[in-house]
């Protein structure tokens, strides 16, 4: 499989298929990251696609000092933040009546009772309720395994701020999930996908 440097070189030389390879290589990863940030399948699919369209024009200028995926994550995160902002605005002015399914539990109502009855619902809700920056940092560290330095590049902050954000995120999650954390055998009860409703 071609590495990032090779793909960038080929693209800068006019080989359009190198861009297609980058899309194939990183699309799923970008989609999963955006899904975890937004908790909405359709928005995540749209933004993952838009990320590569935005990346296309500037890929030739990308120096390759960091991995392509960190740069793609950065674009995806900015698009996700814009999406959250628009979503919040639409909710405020009453244009959006139904919030994304995974977030329903945080807003009350019958669905939340259903979601709250499952461990998965509780955990998803706890992560979704983290402030955006903390959630992004937590996701990039916990699920994508990025280093503190890489996360700092994606989020646009210092490594110290990343470590602090991660610490606060974990502490909030521990408090939100205190009863599950206390259960000795809790880790045996989870292990499911978000689409297994």
């Amino acid at each position: 499989m071609a590495d990032d440097t090779d793909l960038l070189r080929r693209f800068s030389e006019g080989d359009e298929s190198a861009f297609d390879s980058i899309v194939k290589l990183y699309h799923e990863r970008v989609f999963q990251f955006v899904y975890r940030v937004l908790s909405d399948f359709d928005d995540a699919a749209d933004i993952a696609q838009e990320t590569f369209i935005r990346a296309y024009d500037k890929l030739g200028q990308f120096k390759g000092r960091a991995g392509i995926y960190t740069w793609l994550y950065r674009i995806a995160l900015n698009l996700s933040i814009n999406c959250l902002r628009k979503r919040k605005l639409r909710t405020m002015v009453g244009l959006d009546e139904a919030p994304p399914a995974a977030l329903k539990s945080s807003l009350g109502g019958p669905e939340s009772d259903l979601d709250d009855s499952t461990t998965r619902g509780r955990i998803e809700r706890a992560v979704a309720e983290l402030p955006t920056r903390q959630r992004s940092i937590f996701i990039l560290r916990q699920y994508d395994g990025l280093s503190h330095g890489e996360i700092a590049s994606v989020v646009g902050t210092s490594e110290g701020a990343v470590r602090a954000g991660y610490f606060h995120a974990i502490r909030k999650l521990r408090n939100s999930l205190a009863d599950l954390v206390e259960m000795d055998n809790s880790t045996e009860e989870v292990g499911f996908r978000a689409d297994e409703m």
């Binding site: 696609q49 369209i53 500037k58 900015n78 955006t132 974990i170």
Partner: protein, 198 residues
Amino acid sequence: MKCSERAVLDFLEGILRPEEEGILTSHLAACTTCSKRLADFQKTLQLTSKIQPPSLTQLHANSVVPRVRSQLARRDVGSGTSAGWRRLWAPALSGAFGSAVVVVSLFWVFDWVPGESHLSTGIAEINTWPVGDSGSDGPAAIFVNQFDTGEDDMVSSTDLALQMEDYLMDTAAGSELFEVVDTFVFNDDDFYNLLETY
């Protein structure tokens, strides 16, 4: 050593220096509070690690490249350019466009900003600008109005400035860039960064 939740998490993350790690290991052996914290953090991470996002279907995954290509082509038809043309000329055009925007904006800024101090401040000094005061229409207030998501981690002026920079660096198309520059006031450093970027 004194009990520290942060040190316990840093230990779990493996980012303590060897001597700090040794001290904390001894502390954990003697302190039930901190050993409980360590166990709790580990369980929290175990719990959250099991949640998987939904998978894209194979059909969806296979159609990603054609859909991205199709959208690029639609965009190019709309603008009367080809993808290759855009890629080759976009850097030059964006440079010219950015320079024009900076020049226009400099005039606009000098005309608009009350007093010279705002023009020579560093980004950190955005913190000293009036934010959210009644009747305030200073740059920081505009930043907050446009970028404040209402979440506590997003509202510091420095963060807002970083978001602003991110926006310009990564997601701004030409028209959006003009809108942004037209709406916000930048200090000298930001103008030079903008100039370098475009």
